[in-house]
């Protein structure tokens, strides 16, 4: 067990190293000069000396290799550097916005699972009937309707019906939990619909497969009630591939909430990423990308563990 964990950890570090080096070079290859943007953004003309001084101050005049090593060393110390735009530590910038994104991702995932589970199972059980077709139709809708369009639609609806505008500043949990929840619920629903569509389809097809299996017939031959056959015997097996999908979707969400955050005016890391790219703030970009990569690896690992816990065949080899 320890050997396994150690190996996984080592792989994790190796992946992060690879991502770090890759993102470092990609970002610097992109056109645009942050110094010029920052100082000359409003059409102000600045002399070359000032530009050079600013560059030196930000440490951008050092040789590339030096910058890379500094960056890597910083990573080891969990110091992601300073944002080239705001000059605040990247970790701080991220830390201010991360909780919101995480909350949104978690809430979306929970809602998606809550929707998808009954829908997928019912669709499989009522295969071919109107109910099944209705559910399949709604999943197709969920997959094809663009998130931003739906988000805008929801916001417009809320505005017109309840006169409700999303707050422009952050709302904290301690001061106004209801407000915070209200802020999250609508974007979460939008994201959840799409995610649940995918999960429900996956669950439906694996449920259909499982229901054909011999052990379901054995359960019925024991006289087990149909409901118990479905929940106790069939669903546990059908959920296995869906669990993987949930994990992957969740990992993807953290970085993929960009559009939703933009539409619903939420100050999360997705929005921060867009900002950073626009401003060519590569320290921030690097930091965010490292975060997403790390999240992905950790979530994959957790999925593996969960899968092992759910499916005893993975745990032991005969």
């Amino acid at each position: 067990m320890t050997g396994y964990l150690l190996r996984k950890f080592f792989q994790f570090l190796l992946t992060l190293l690879g991502v770090a080096v890759l993102i470092f070079f990609i970002v610097r290859v992109l056109p645009g000069d942050i110094v010029a943007l920052k100082l000359q953004g409003d059409g102000v003309t600045v002399s070359a000396d000032v530009l050079a001084a600013e560059k030196a101050r930000l440490g951008l005049d050092k040789p590339m290799l030096q910058q890379l090593l500094d960056w890597l060393w910083g990573l080891v110390n969990l110091d992601l550097g300073r944002s080239l735009w705001t000059e605040r530590p990247v970790t701080q910038e991220i830390a201010e916005r991360l909780p919101l994104s995480v909350e949104l991702a978690v809430l979306s995932t929970i809602l998606a699972v809550v929707f998808a589970l009954p829908l997928g199972i019912v669709a499989a059980l009522t295969r071919g009937t109107v109910v099944d077709q209705g559910i399949r139709l709604s999943t197709v809708a969920g997959l094809s309707i663009p998130g931003f369009w739906l988000g805008l639609l929801v916001q417009t609806f809320l505005l017109k019906t309840f006169g409700w505008l999303p707050s422009l500043s952050g709302v904290s949990w301690t001061l106004d939990p209801v407000g915070r929840f209200a802020m999250l619920i609508f974007p979460a629903l939008v994201v959840a619909w799409r995610m649940s569509a995918m999960l429900a389809r996956m669950l439906r097809s694996s449920m259909l497969e499982v229901l054909q299996e011999d052990y379901i017939r054995t359960a019925r031959a024991k006289g087990v009630r149909p409901r118990v056959v479905v929940t106790h015997h069939a669903a546990r097996n059908a959920l296995l591939p869906t669990v993987t999908l949930v994990g992957l979707e969740f990992a993807f969400l953290l970085g993929g909430l960009t559009v939703t955050e933009q539409v619903f005016n939420l100050n999360g890391v997705g929005r921060l990423l867009v900002q950073a790219v626009t401003q060519n703030d590569f320290m921030l970009i690097q930091g965010l990308v490292m975060l997403f990569a790390a999240t992905f690896v950790v979530v994959s690992f957790v999925i593996d563990l969960v899968y092992g816990a759910l499916d005893p065949r993975i745990r032991t080899v005969r």
């Binding site: 067990m1 050997g3 396994y4 190996r7 299996e213 011999d214 052990y215 017939r217 054995t218 359960a219 019925r220 031959a221 024991k222 006289g223 087990v224 009630r225 015997h233 546990r236 097996n237 593996d304 092992g308 759910l310 499916d311 005893p312 065949r313 993975i314 745990r315 032991t316 080899v317 005969r318």
Partner: protein, 722 residues
């Protein structure tokens, strides 16, 4: 399916009572002979299950098709009744109909199923559920897939206990341990919390039996319980079922396609064909005095250890009828070698002179002994005798004609990662195997699942690289050849796999499947030539040319296997490896395919490496036989040596597992069964690997691994105790 109606009130005199005549069975396992064919005695209280006029139909796209057409039979307490028939005869469907487990597209269109006096077909769903698992237990065919992989076996066995008998967790667990001991799973305490995939096939089937018997049902239905298992394990499981049925006074309905296996175990036999009951009677009567041509044919097809070793296997030509196009009159007539004009009329069940019932028009002729099942055509001799002395594991490199295939000290070691945490262990699947095979010869490789025979086959075909040792094909060392150099070699050796369904690509037509090898090796120019050659091959394997455009799911198992053979022949190879090529087929179809293989061998001078777990089957087709156990060769010799003088204890036990011809004889002798299961290949026993299951093992056997030594010329055995 089941109609929703009120439960019928039970007839008073048909209530289940505590005592029953089943205890009388405990002595000898046989009911006293009775005169009337459906063995209805004067005491109706004895009758547990009575099926009357059962008709089951399937709803297809076009119309409803009758799968079972009027089935009548009875089952009494403590009886063992075997229902025998080929795939598609309706035997499994009848069991499902009794249990109320028919698929949604099937329905019972007529008839009654009386269980303890109640008509099961009139029970509502809840009523039926109360019976299932409690009063009627069922064991299914494939133990590998019949258990839920994410639940422990303890939980699965306890489920009916908690559901029907309302046991608490503790009570259920105690009973589960009792059941596990009863079905012969040793060390129950430590295994109760294991998962199904941690058990072998035979053990899983025992778990299934434990589940079926958990609530002490009065009826146990076993649908082909041993078909998916090795011959040795088959014997164990059937013996277990029989013992339990006797001991607990349970009526057992045993469904199978192999008439041979029921000889030892059944009291009465029902033979089904094309959805009808064609013969019914006491087991002894049926085996000694069959009164239907089909029964006779089935009896002849079972490969046996007696009889002319050189003869062709008797086979039943053709295929079972399509339920959508049933022939009028006797349904077996199209395949019957003794059909006459009157067979075109509808056949009814009539009582026979020996107390059975038969639906054959020629029953009187059979009774008089004037007709029989024709012997296979003389002169179609199966396997020529090859002088044994020049071949043997030690005689490699002899100056005689160079063998086609030679294996020298072949070894294959697997590094296995156990579980998620990656403990690495080694399994030696094949250990120092030596053999040689000449052109036109067949080497039979026999052993249980897990003995390494499939790994050996893969190495010979170079689908896998040996860890040590050499493979010589046509004198050339192919052990380490790369892909490009192997290509011409691959042309000359081909393979037929075990599972006909899985070895044909479901997305390719038959024509494409057979044509592909020729295309790959550039043997044909253009589609027209390919089609011509494919149709020629189809003809050679006995298939109609119109199958060219069909897909594998549209043809039967036997036909698929023939397609596999045609594909193997496409390149005109010198060697064909048959990896359990007939194990998954019905006994009647096995005979056809084996005969075909023998004919092809004669015509083309093919060599076969014939892998199987059934010694009786191998007897017919092999010149020499090699018996393997846990990766090692334990006995090797000519066919005569192995069958006339089996020396190694394992070989003898394998022979013991093959059913004999006379049920009376069979019942008298207690079969010496192989005990236990194959040891884990991760931890083979010290010294002789077989000593844990060997009736002749002593303490010395643990000390040294016995080496192969020559007991007579060309006959090698690896045992120190003989």
């Amino acid at each position: 399916m089941l109609m929703r109606r009120e439960l019928l009130p039970e007839s008073s005199h048909l209530q289940s009572s505590g005592t029953h005549t089943g205890t009388a069975l405990a002595e000898e396992g046989r009911r006293p002979a009775v005169s009337h064919w459906n063995t209805v005695t004067a005491d109706p209280g004895d009758c547990l299950l009575k099926v009357e006029g059962l008709r089951v139909s399937f709803r297809t796209a076009a119309r409803e098709v009758d799968i079972i057409d009027g089935l009548d039979f009875e089952l009494r307490r403590g009886e063992v009744v075997a229902v025998v028939g080929e795939s598609g005869s309706g035997k499994s469907v009848s069991a499902l109909a009794i249990m109320g487990l028919l698929p949604p597209f099937a329905r019972v269109s007529a008839g009654r199923v009386l269980f303890q006096g109640r008509n099961l077909l009139e029970l509502d769903a809840a009523g039926m559920r109360r019976l299932r698992g409690k009063d009627i237990g069922m064991v299914f065919q494939d133990p590998m897939s019949a258990l839920n992989p994410v639940l422990t076996i303890g939980e699965q066995i306890a489920e009916p206990l908690r559901l029907h008998l309302g046991m608490s967790h503790q009570q259920a667990r105690a009973r589960v341990l009792e059941l596990l001991n009863m079905v012969g799973i040793a060390d129950a305490e430590s295994r109760i919390d294991l998962y199904p995939h941690e058990f072998s096939g035979g053990m899983r089937q025992r778990v299934m039996i434990a589940i079926a018997l958990a609530c002490q049902p009065s009826l146990l239905i076993a649908d082909e319980p041993t078909t998916a298992l090795d011959v040795t394990i088959q014997a164990q499981i059937l013996e277990l079922l029989k013992n339990l049925a006797d001991r607990l006074g349970i009526a057992l309905m045993l469904i199978t396609h192999n008439l041979g296996v029921v000889e030892r175990y059944a009291d009465r036999v029902l033979v089904m064909y094309g959805g009808q009951l064609v013969e019914q009677g006491l087991a002894d009567t049926l085996f000694h005095h069959p009164r239907h041509m089909y029964t006779l044919g089935l009896l002849r097809c079972v490969p046996r250890l007696e009889g002319d070793i050189r003869g062709k296997l008797a086979e039943i030509p053709g295929l079972p009828p399509d339920p959508r196009e049933m022939p009028p009159g006797c349904r077996f007539a199209p395949r019957c070698p003794q059909r006459i004009d009157v067979c075109r009329n509808e056949a009814r069940l009539v009582a026979t002179d020996v107390g059975s019932a038969s639906r054959c028009h020629r029953v009187t002729d059979l009774a008089a002994g004037s007709i029989g099942w024709p012997e296979p055509a003389p002169g179609a001799s199966l396997i020529e005798n090859v002088p044994a002395s020049t071949h043997g594991p030690a005689a490699v490199g002899s100056p005689a004609a160079m063998p086609l295939l030679e294996a020298r000290d072949l070894t294959r070691v697997f590094n296995v990662k156990q579980g998620m945490w990656g403990k690495r262990r080694q399994v030696t699947a094949v250990r120092q195997v030596n053999f040689s095979l000449d052109r036109g010869e067949t080497l039979g490789v026999v052993g249980e699942s897990g003995c390494g025979k499939s790994t050996l086959a893969r190495m010979v075909l170079r689908l896998d690289r040996p860890s040590a040792g050499q493979i010589l094909f046509g004198g050339h060392d192919i052990t380490n050849l790369g892909h490009r150099l192997l290509r011409p070699v691959r042309r000359r050796m081909q393979v037929v796999f075990q599972d006909p369904a899985a070895s044909l690509n479901p997305r390719m037509t038959i024509g494409q499947i057979i044509g592909e090898p020729m295309r790959v090796h550039g043997l044909v120019r253009g589609d027209a030539e390919e089609q011509e050659r494919v149709i020629d091959l189809l003809r050679q394997v006995g298939l109609r040319a119109e199958l060219y455009g069909r897909y594998s799911h549209q043809i039967s198992g036997g036909q698929r296997q023939r397609v596999g053979i045609a594909r193997a022949l496409a390149l005109d190879p010198s060697l064909i490896v048959c990896d359990e090529a007939v194990s998954a087929l019905d006994v009647s179809v096995q005979a056809q395919v084996v005969n075909l293989l023998a004919d092809l061998q004669q015509q083309r001078g093919l060599a076969y490496l014939f892998i199987a777990h059934d010694l009786a089957l191998v007897r017919r087709i092999s010149n020499r036989v090699m018996v393997m156990y846990l990766g090692r060769v334990v006995e090797y010799g000519s066919r005569e040596h192995i069958y006339a003088q089996p020396t190694h204890p394992y070989t003898r036990l394998l022979l013991e597992a093959v059913p004999g011809t006379d049920p009376r004889e069979e019942r008298k002798r207690a079969p010496i069964l192989i005990q236990g299961d194959l040891p884990s290949p991760f931890a083979p026993p010290d010294g002789c690997a077989f000593r844990t299951r060997c009736p002749r093992a002593t303490a010395d056997c643990a000390r040294a691994v016995p080496q192969l030594r020559e007991v007579t010329s060309g006959h090698y055995v690896a045992c120190d105790r003989v």
